[in-house]
Amino acid sequence: MTSTAGTVPVVDPGDPGAPGEPDALVDVAASGRRRGRTAYLLMAPAVLWLALFFVIPFYSLIAASLYDPSGSDEDGWRMAYAFGNYVDAWQDYWQPFVRSIAYGGIATVICLVLGYVLAYAIAFKTGRWKTLVLVLVIAPFFTSFLVRTLSWQLILADDGWVVDVLRFLQLLDDDGRLLATDVAVVTGLAYNFLPFMVLPLFASLDKIDHRLIEASSDLYSNPVVGFFKVTWPLSLPGVVSGTLLTFIPAAGDYINAQLLGNTNTRVVGSVIEAQFTDANQPYVAGALSMTLMVVIVGMVLVYVRRAGTEELL
């Protein structure tokens, strides 16, 4: 996304152009073939890996989504090209589906706001503490995702201090709660995926030439205008990759909804899990998985095109 800078040809009138010697061209072709073989060899493990752990499961997922729904584990599952599974799955589960997208979207916005401020501070204000602060941002990754989410159960518990404070401030009714609410789910998502937002944002902000900000200030931009006209557009590659890295897993996540939500915060990931394991209806799970994937890929494509990141640098 940010690599186009290197490929833009810089016009240099002094350069007479590379001399094209025929011998050299032959050599290039020969070494090209050798390089080709090496490249294939080097790529082989990755291709094999992808084939084993992405293409084949993906294929079987598509197959599962089209099974005859009257099958069972006991009798087996027959391929019936039952595209109606998709319609049925959507009709039954559009609500958790929409909820997943909404939770993921809200969490992403929260992450963007918090993450941008954090990344900005790290990039421009921390000086020699930069590395340390970055390590602190990544530190939660050293513990398991599950443990981190479980700890939010304690933080948001009805008798925890967060609830106490909010009740004291009258921001929460006396019998109000945080745990097992939408708020808790979104909070958990935002917490868990914040580093995915901060790191690309930091990478983008950190490489902004400080003189550009001085130049904007010299050209009559107060700090706020300068931010929106220079810093923000230059950080857009980080914003785009950060939001994608946050939104995609957040929309598919169900651990937060399961551990921090209630019976009315069900997300599509929970449905898929339950349909695969407990309910043993792989065709529903398959159809929902495929739909989720298509929707997310579609949203990402539209988003990337709208953000116009390919023209940023």
Partner: protein
Amino acid sequence: MSLRVEAGVEAADGTAYDGLRLRALTKRFASFTAVRGIDLDVPRGSFFALLGPSGCGKTTTLRMVAGLDAPTSGTIELAGKDITGAKPYRRPVNTVFQNYALFPHLDIFENVAFGLRRRKVDGVDKKVAEMLALVELDAQARKKPAQLSGGQQQRVALARALINEPEVLLLDEPLGALDLKLRRSMQIELKRIQMDVGLTFVHVTHDQEEAMTMADTVAVMNGGLIEQMGSPAELYENPRSTFVANFLGQSNLIEGRVTGRSADEVTVDMHGIGVSVPVGRAHTDGQQGWVGIRPEKVLIGDAGSKLDAPGNTIPGGVVSDVSFVGVSTQYLVRMPWGQELMVFAQNTGRDKIFRHGDPVELSWRPEYAFLLDHSQDVRAGAQEDG
């Protein structure tokens, strides 16, 4: 000096000055002092150069004028208004940054329009088109900066600043990244543009030739202080310090003892040879001094010959090096006291070309010599590459 009637024109000291005026301007960083209380007047409409080696404080001075660094003490006044504490975006000052600092996400047109749009000026399109025409970039308006050559980027940077018609245009080593040939042509173009638009230019550079080519007035900075200020010819012909003598062009500096002072001239004993220096060119009150003479002012002839330079004649030299450079011949002549003096002789065709080992005598007119303070470092400001 035109009379301009504006609110706030009156400066604190009561005199209205319509140019840029720095008073006791000082900048201290945590570990060193970059600028040590300089006073400077830049007349309105002039092309002013701040010349000095890297680390001399010239860029810091420029940044304080731009508002990018806050002075530790002292004042900055522009057209009679004190702008010492003003935010950079509130100053009628624009900067052409070193390496240009063009906005990579905006095309050339928008880069140039940036300042106008921020000030919500009318007729942006027309003004930008005119400005791009002035710097001959009309055809590149929709390209991104990375698609332009260095020289083109430089002109964008200039256009982006100029279009705002600032009271003062600051140029921070604007040609530093260009190759020599391009730099020469851009120097001429910059000077042309400055004369066209009539704005005040303050140009920071470490290139003495660039400063002398372009500027009306040059201030030579060294160690956070202004060593000397004046027109290029004044600085060159009558340097007041060994630093200026060496940094602007080259000088022969010969140790001497003051033997007498009259109303017109100072006489100096230079290793047993008496020479004189006009009073206006003697910049020391001490008993000792450095007699300075530019190499091209020194005449060279056979020992005992009569040279066309009444005044100071120094016999007993031996040619120790000869470089023929076409337009002139550059000699090194070893003097009896061991010092090698530089002599540049024009190839007019009248004079013979000496060879290594030839005994010669040197001579110069007293009005070309200058006398500098003996306490100054004789090598100050000398460039490594000579």
